[in-house]
Subunit: 481 residues, 2 copies
């Protein structure tokens, strides 16, 4: 017989791991709910018509597809059987065969199902609609350290408002989660797609900014030289690239960077997106660049909300984010004292539900990667010790009679909400203690013939070896204190 | 554009549904943990080699299979591409093609993955091992009312002990969950495969009891006449069938049925499984029928544990359960005041992990069907009112200034753990109230220019219309009481 195994890139979570993961989920859930986000759950299976084309060509490849059930090779209607897949289809390759044998796929992220849900329920939802979603997603990626084929995302999005309060609240929620988890050495990076667009204009560009965004997105990986080389190949001139890095590398605090970029845009003659509200003539001081202005506003809202961790919030003009649908503020978070990619990110989009027939719904959302957070907490040793069981008390016994006599105490402990077990067999006491030790059960109650005769129980704290003898009627009271 | 949809038999769960489902999960989780069961989670994807053949032919058909990723029609090794599926395979049909294009399937139940987990981790687990698992499963069944293709199971199993304490605790856990959910009109039916085997022997049968079990299992659906007809066709004689129904229909309380069946077995000359412990000669009163004896023992343990709901516990010799792997006590629960199949069931098995190379591990387990419990609670109107949001307080505002002035109070409420929102846009007050109403937010705080000038806030309870004006500094205190 073959030894049983689980598919590559998937994991079993034993008791201690589930407890630790639940701890992370609870901190995130509590934060989302405190900010008024309501839970949504969508099916694991989605129609491929919903998923395909939403994640780019690479995404389409990485979607797990589910074979149609029954005889997937034929179509049966009124007893008539027609072959669906022909030898010609085989010759044409898997892309020709796929749509004939698979109609469903596994959830690939939480954003597309959310957009599908909003579009399907537009008539009954109350906008602005705030939802959070904490579910697994599946990607047929090559598994490697920290990258799984089944992994968990925790998303919060609000749609139906373009208020910048929502952006500020994302920063507040991020900070609350990381502080709550004890991951206090974090940096929240913020940028705005409008700033990137203005930078592009400062370089004399117009229209398609994608080449620039894609190159900047790689700055972390390939460095300034790599990005320069790529931009030269794309037709950018050397002086243009120098200007680019001057703008990207503005130094100073969040507000200082904002004003230095503003000066840079004015110098470069970038056309403002409008006038600063209240201004009536177009001069330098009233030039209104939407990106810079919104970033200033988000900071103001944070300040008015009593946010104090501005040393953890960095305006980073080089932050680009990969996803094409972002249109406004974008976010990304790193934990500084761990070697790990970003653990959270998000941004504003103007047209998420457009592909499902509901255009013009603006929203902003962000996501936590639970598996990466788990790894961060583990490598910083921030998990509190977790046993292999919820049980707090093990009742031991010697024979059928003492086992039977322990049952009322067992019931009493459980009624008081204390997870408790009676060792099921009258094994040697040593074996019962070994069991408690291996599972991490902190307390053992000894109910031997002597104790029973005296109407008492002996309680032993395994970690210290401390023992206490109590009247049977006082055990539950002593343990609930 | 096609209107987006979700696959047949799957569901989106909106905020109110998620809250209600979480309520059910929490009652079950608390019960499992109080009894010392520890959480386990297994992957959604399992290898088909693990799943296939475990659920019978019908089960194999109903498994959702996942297409191999990439080009599933060919095998690529060291740059050499070999076709996997040929035109001859197509002619041979889908059963020939399937193993070549799909290696993985979706979890079909929680028992097989549990057995696989125990077998894979035998070296590191501490036995007896108690685990619970609450996860979705998928079956390509024809969807109908109350039957879904994605649905949730909550299982608890203990393996590595044959103590009947575990059987008794299953009854205790079932009762705790149904009482906890307010589904107080339940009946827990209990039987024992040994009793059914003894009944079969009383009819003069030996060897394969399956025909009998399968027929009895249909009693609910096709009645005594239907079962008789089926047994006649299988070669049972009319007098035998009469004896069968005499035994199956023994009347009385749980202990009365036990002693009447014992008398029946002795009369019919059924060979005992041994002697009653302590007895030294074989006569009627010491004849030991394992099934009857274990059922008596389970009842004794319940009594010693202080269990009082014996009117909810019925020994039903006609209970057969479909699954073939049960060997000892079997359980099934119905809610009497709702039209609904069984909402819970389980039993003891002697060799669950045998097919994964780990023979002789006895265990006992049971399962709750969350979707059916949900439907029961809904049709009995037992859910407390749930809003569409966790938000308790909506702060309204009139303009940018009053919106900004509301931020400290908003932060204060959240810091006190009170889910709160500031309406993100300075819309008409009526619109903001309508929003609170539609979402089921109970409290609205009005912070207008007048209130701000006076340093107060007006709090309105939406359901009663009651209003209160409080100094700003006292709002959080008043709401946390």
């Amino acid at each position: 017989m073959e030894k049983p195994s689980i598919p590559q890139g998937t994991r079993d979570f034993g008791p201690a791991q589930v407890a630790r993961r639940q701890y992370i989920f609870n901190v995130i859930r509590r934060t989302f709910e405190t900010f008024g986000y309501a839970p949504l759950e969508t099916p694991t299976l989605e129609n491929l018509s919903v998923l395909t084309g939403k994640y780019g060509d690479e995404g389409d490849q990485l979607l797990f597809k589910v074979l149609n059930s029954g005889n997937f090779l034929v179509k049966e209607r009124r007893g008539e059987i027609t072959p669906l897949v022909t030898a010609e289809d085989l010759d044409a390759g898997h892309k020709a065969v796929l749509p004939k044998i698979a109609e469903k796929g596994l959830r690939y992220d939480l954003t597309v199902p959310f957009a599908r849900y909003v579009a399907m329920n537009r008539g009954t939802l109350t906008f602005p609609f705030r939802r959070y979603q904490m579910q697994p997603v599946w990607r047929a990626d090559r598994p490697q350290r920290g990258r799984y084929r089944e992994f968990w995302q925790c998303d919060a999005d609000v749609v139906g408002t373009d208020s910048l309060l929502c952006e500020a609240e994302i920063v507040l929620m991020m900070a609350q989660v990381f502080n709550g988890l004890g991951l206090t050495d974090f940096t929240i990076k913020i940028n705005h797609r409008g700033v990137l667009r203005n930078i592009y204009q400062a370089l004399g560009g117009e229209g398609n900014e994608t080449d620039l965004f894609v190159a900047i997105d790689k700055l972390d990986k390939i460095g300034r030289d790599g990005v320069s080389k790529e931009l030269l190949e794309k037709g950018f001139s050397e002086p243009t690239i120098d200007t680019l890095f001057e703008l990207l590398n503005v130094a100073g605090s969040y507000p200082e960077k904002l004003s230095r970029l503003l000066a840079g845009f004015v110098t470069a003659g970038v056309e403002p997106d409008g006038l600063r509200p209240g201004a009536d003539s177009e001069d330098e001081s009233t030039a209104f660049y939407k990106g810079l202005n919104e970033l200033a506003e988000v900071r103001d809202i944070l300040q008015a909300s009593g946010f104090t961790q501005f040393d953890r919030l960095e305006f980073d003009p080089t932050l680009a984010r990969g996803l094409s649908y972002y249109t406004g503020c974008i976010f990304e978070v790193k934990i500084n004292n761990v070697q790990m990619g970003s653990v959270s990110g998000g941004g504003r989009y103007d047209n998420l539900t457009g592909s499902f027939g509901l255009p013009g719904v603006s929203g902003v959302g962000f996501s936590f990667g639970v598996d990466r957070l788990y790894d961060c907490l583990e490598s910083l040793d921030l998990f509190t010790e977790t046993g292999e069981t919820p049980t707090r008390v093990l009742l031991t016994h010697f024979d059928a009679a003492s086992g039977r006599a322990a049952l009322p105490l067992l019931a009493e402990l459980r009624a008081a909400g204390i997870p408790a077990e009676l060792y099921p067999d009258a094994s040697k006491l040593q074996k019962q203690f070994k069991y408690a030790d291996a599972k991490g059960i902190p307390l053992v109650v000894i109910l031997g013939p002597e104790e029973l005769a005296a109407g008492v129980a002996k309680i032993k704290i395994l970690q210290t070896g401390e023992e206490r003898t109590l009247p049977l009627g006082e055990v539950v009271g002593a343990l609930t204190v």
